[in-house]
């Protein structure tokens, strides 16, 4: 019996000689790895069970009916789904072009001596806790936006902006979310741009392209799947953000309106804001947990799709 054999990945592996320690250790690591999967499945099952009274009471109305009134045991949460999507879309509209331009500047245009530290600084935005975004948003961003941006916009007569700007509304929540997803999207875009082969850039430049034409011809087309995945991960983050939105969206249920200066609420923010009230009311509590399950499934779909795109490209991100 030889002392070593070649393992699956071409590695040299010691021959198993029936010593229990090796098998036990391997089993322990496999068990720990499985915990990730067990946790995810357990989370879905346990919360669904806890939310079951609400699903039975409201049925599909939990997500299709726009009537959220705990006093009458009406738990139609459509307005929260609407609010979540509206603020996330605002965040993407503001955040995606900004993130791509930042990533292009950092990885393609700026000299490395400037680009590398700039990348770190942008990454710091991701390290700021969301409660600080919320605090800063309420005391600094809201007064600024209300006085200097929203009021002039509301006087412009543009249909999406009503004359009354309270400052805690869909638009403000969208702005803070944009700030929070910029570091995520731009970091992944930077990685994606880095994987574009040098010879493709060089051939574009050799054909007489300017730097911008080279970006348009070589960098962006090759990076499209990666950019889409980055945008989806940013979208997932925006959909799930709780505290900063709870501060800034107003927290008013049942608002489905095309007025971006209206107060409203999102799924996550509503769970955070109403959980205390629901403590002694079983059906209310189950309905909030049910909203959580809806949120979980939304973000699960978004994240699985984004990761699948990244893996198909064989990139690490």
């Amino acid at each position: 019996m030889s002392a070593v054999k070649t393992g699956g990945a071409g590695r040299l592996v010691a021959q198993q000689r029936g010593r229990p320690a090796d098998a036990l250790f391997r089993f322990a690591t496999a068990a720990c790895a499985s915990i990730v999967l067990i946790l995810l499945a357990g989370m879905l099952i346990r919360t669904t069970i806890a939310a079951w009274p609400a699903f039975r009471h409201e049925g599909i109305g939990l997500v299709t009916s726009n009537n959220w009134n705990p006093n009458t045991n009406s738990f139609g949460g459509l307005s929260f789904i609407y609010g979540t999507l509206v603020i996330s879309v605002i965040a993407l509209i503001l955040g995606v072009p900004t993130s791509i331009l930042i990533a292009l500047y950092v990885s393609e245009v700026a000299p490395p001596r400037l680009g590398t530290p700039l990348g770190w600084v942008i990454d710091l935005l991701a390290a700021v806790p969301s409660v600080v975004y919320g605090l800063w948003g309420v005391f600094v961003l809201v007064p600024f936006l209300t006085n200097d941006v929203w009021t002039p916009l509301s006087k412009s007569g543009f249909p999406l902006f009503s004359p009354l700007a309270s400052g805690r509304d869909f638009a403000t929540a969208g702005v803070i979310l944009a700030l929070m997803i910029i570091p995520i999207i731009s970091a992944i875009c930077r990685e994606v741009f880095r994987t574009v082969p040098a010879d493709e850039r060089e051939s574009a430049l050799a054909l007489g392209s300017t730097r911008w034409e080279m970006i348009k011809l070589a960098v962006l087309p090759r990076s499209r799947p990666g950019i889409i995945a980055a945008v989806m991960l940013g979208f997932g983050r925006a959909v799930g953000e709780t505290i900063a939105v709870a501060y800034l969206i107003g927290g008013v249920p049942n608002k489905i309106t095309d007025d971006l200066f209206s107060q409203g609420s999102s799924i996550a923010a509503n769970i955070a804001l109403q959980f205390n009230e629901a403590a002694s009311l079983p059906l209310f509590k189950a309905a909030l947990i049910g909203l959580g399950v809806v949120l979980f499934i939304m973000t699960l779909i978004i994240n699985v799709t984004a990761r699948a795109i990244i893996h198909r490209r064989g990139q690490a991100a």
Binding site: R11, A14, A33
Partner: protein, 273 residues
């Protein structure tokens, strides 16, 4: 076009600078040792006192989260990188631990609420710590696996050629070599956990009183929960404490992130320890 790019960079950098400047400007005058150790005054609208309860709660719960998630996460990463890197289990776990980093933290709070708080009929520090541990786990798995993959193949072969058992090789050769990378990942996870509010709202709940270090069954504050509560108060004394709390939190989180970077940049001597 370069002009638009620079404008985009400013759109991100200027708010970051403003956030840091505002937190420092509005928080610095409340900063003192007693802010870090004393609870809020009995009448919360008075000035004085501090977020001692929250500082202690954050340290306790993040520590519990670390103790729960680091061993499990590192062992899981060992399986992913050392045993069957291309196997079905490893591929699935790797994929879903990436997916898990994108799960909203409030949902993890809901899960721990249904499993712990509903069963024990009480909000508690250990429920909060458990929620933080679940949030840290996928981060630890991913960063530890990356660190383990950077260990040179020659080290594994040398150890195995000397007749050292596989588990001994992992414990005394591979893991020590990967330690700086694993530490970086753990520090980043700790920084992330310390900044979490939403999951703690449903598990630790919050408390204005100091909970003893050894007591884990009562509702407990965290720095983030105290910032959240006090900043929504109309009283200036509470708002001021919220800003100082934000300064403490952001300083802690940024220092952890910088230390994590410093650890990883010293990894140049890898394999020559």
């Amino acid at each position: 076009m370069v002009g638009a790019m620079i404008f985009a960079v400013l759109l991100a950098v200027v708010p970051l600078c403003l956030i840091l400047a505002d937190v420092i400007a509005k928080g610095i005058h409340g900063l003192s040792v007693s802010f870090l150790t004393q609870p809020e005054p009995f009448v919360a609208t008075l000035t004085g006192g501090g977020f001692g309860a929250g500082v202690r709660g954050t340290i306790k719960m993040v520590a519990l989260g670390t103790i729960v998630s680091v061993p499990i996460g590192v062992l899981a990463a060992v399986y992913l990188s050392e045993y069957q890197p291309r196997g079905v289990l490893a591929t699935t776990v790797r994929f879903f631990s990436e997916v898990m980093t994108g799960i909203p933290s409030i949902f993890v709070g809901i899960f721990v609420f249904t499993v712990v708080v509903l069963e024990t009929h009480s909000f508690s520090s250990w429920a909060g710590g458990l929620a933080l541990g679940i949030l840290m786990l996928p981060v630890i798995v991913r960063t530890s696996e990356e660190a383990l993959r950077l260990v040179p193949e020659t080290l594994r072969e040398a150890s195995l050629a000397l007749g050292v058992r596989r588990w001994r090789t992992i414990m005394s050769v591979i893991l020590p070599t990967a330690l700086p990378g694993i530490t970086t990942g753990a520090l980043l996870a700790v920084a992330r956990a310390a900044g979490e509010t939403a999951p703690l709202l449903l598990t630790a709940f919050g408390n204005t009183l100091l909970v003893p270090w050894t007591s884990w069954n009562a509702p407990e504050a965290s720095l983030t929960l105290q910032i959240f509560t006090d900043s929504r108060s109309p009283f200036p004394a509470q708002q001021a404490r919220a800003w100082t709390g934000a300064l403490v939190l952001i300083a802690g989180v940024l220092i952890l992130s910088l230390v994590a970077r410093a650890v990883i940049s010293r990894r140049a001597g890898l394999g020559r320890r």
